[in-house]
Symmetry: C2
Subunit: 272 residues, 2 copies
């Protein structure tokens, strides 16, 4: 039975949103709805226009026999700025200040709506690049990695500081923790990353950049390639940072333990 | 400017999918599209029918002044069975067998499409219950918790075995690891769970049930309430399990280190 346009639009929208960055051949939809390819093309035109009007993403059409349609999630700079400004306010809340000048983030990194938006913002930065995997370090980086992975539709891998028997053989590197200058160790399951993979590194917080630098080392050990680095928040570190090319959504500029004030501004994400 | 039906359908579908389990008043959509409430009602009827036909979920309409529409993600038993059967096959792959009879899962727990489906399957079990938070233990439970949290649209909290300075004050419990009979400790940031919260516990793997039992203890310490327990996989443990009420998607029935065979069947999820 033929499916009506209105129903096709609802189902196709859902299908496209759940399969971002994936080439879907037109015959797939034609068969799914028992409809002519010309009708499917018209539907896709409507969806394309709506996504574009609402700044939700690009619907790329690839012509030819091997062609099809591909949904690339996007977010406008204006929308991203609104979200980042809201996050600045939330991060500046007095009660987030922990002993030692640390900032409490765990509640934010457990909110699904916030994570979805953060995933959209970070993924948008890399939408035109080929990425095979998202890498992060346990534990607090995981929600960020998963959120980005959902948008780019590529797997994420978790680097650990403690080896577990359930990871099988691992490859490990030593790295210097940028802020404390201690030597630490991190490892990744050997089978989790293929040689030549193009890797995006994400993390929740960057101080001296030691952890991110460790991940760079691991990527080299795996003979993989680093595509970029984006962290949820960075702190305005006075010393020498071991990482120079990265993006951050937020920047904790100053923490005053006396007056319990945290000053947070947008990070380097919007820099041209 | 008025927005046409076709465009409304695309945008509403997207909006509803990104806001599951959330009551959205009709005037919100009427304003968003500059359209009459009667048109919006008709749109919602189309979306409701399509979601229902495709077994994608229920669109609940609540009449009256305080009413609106709420999308409740679902998955049919048939669809869930197909996914679980596929997972049984993947889990039985010979090269997953690790020394000590452990099964390698980390790759599966990093695949966005699989996680999305696992989230849908687990969330569907609790769709009629009030849930305030999803709880899991670091590290491998996190992807499951986040996937479920996306579907239920409630936050997730991460219990840790190692205390971190970035968690602030914590509440800790001791628990007996079911399989090794050792006493271990786990803790949760004090501010992460409110008194009286209704909590769903999820984890990647359950052997003796000690870890899950530890989380039950923590829930009591927080004066919160346990709604249910679902694990991605359980192993057919021969000893006495310390947990009796739970669901599992998969059950590792037998592991033969000699012949390198892993036998996996669907878990208790489908039991009536």
């Amino acid at each position: 039975m033929k499916v009506r346009r209105s129903e096709r639009l609802v189902d196709m929208t859902q299908y496209l949103l759940e399969h971002p960055h994936t080439l879907i051949p037109l015959p797939f939809f034609a068969k799914r709805y028992n409809s002519a390819k010309s009708s499917i093309s018209e539907d896709l035109g409507i969806i394309k226009r709506t996504f574009s009007l609402r700044n939700r993403g690009i619907l790329e059409t690839i012509p030819g026999a091997a062609g099809g349609v591909r949904f690339i999630p996007e977010i406008s700079e204006t929308q991203a700025r609104v979200i980042v400004n809201e996050l600045c306010e939330r991060l500046s809340e007095k009660n987030r200040l922990l002993p030692g000048g640390y900032v409490y983030l765990s509640d934010l990194l457990g909110e699904p709506e916030l994570l979805r938006k953060v995933g959209q913002i970070i993924a948008a930065k890399y939408k035109d690049q080929k990425i095979d995997a998202v890498m992060t370090v346990a534990t607090k980086g995981v929600p960020i990695a998963q959120a980005v992975s959902y948008q780019l539709n590529v797997p994420f891998v978790i680097v650990r500081r403690d080896s577990k028997i359930t990871e099988g053989s691992t490859v490990s590197v030593n790295y210097v923790s940028g802020s404390s200058q201690r030597i630490e160790k991190m490892e990744l399951s050997k089978r989790s990353l293929k040689k030549g993979s193009r890797v995006l590194v994400v993390d929740d917080f960057m101080k001296g950049g030691g952890t991110v630098n460790g991940m760079k080392g691991l990527i080299e050990e795996f003979e993989a390639e680093l595509v970029g680095i984006t962290v949820f928040a960075e702190s305005n570190f006075s010393g020498c940072r071991v990482i120079d090319e990265y993006h951050s959504l937020l920047c904790v500029e100053e923490v005053d333990v006396q007056t319990k004030t945290i000053s947070v501004i947008p990070g380097t994400y919007f820099n041209k």
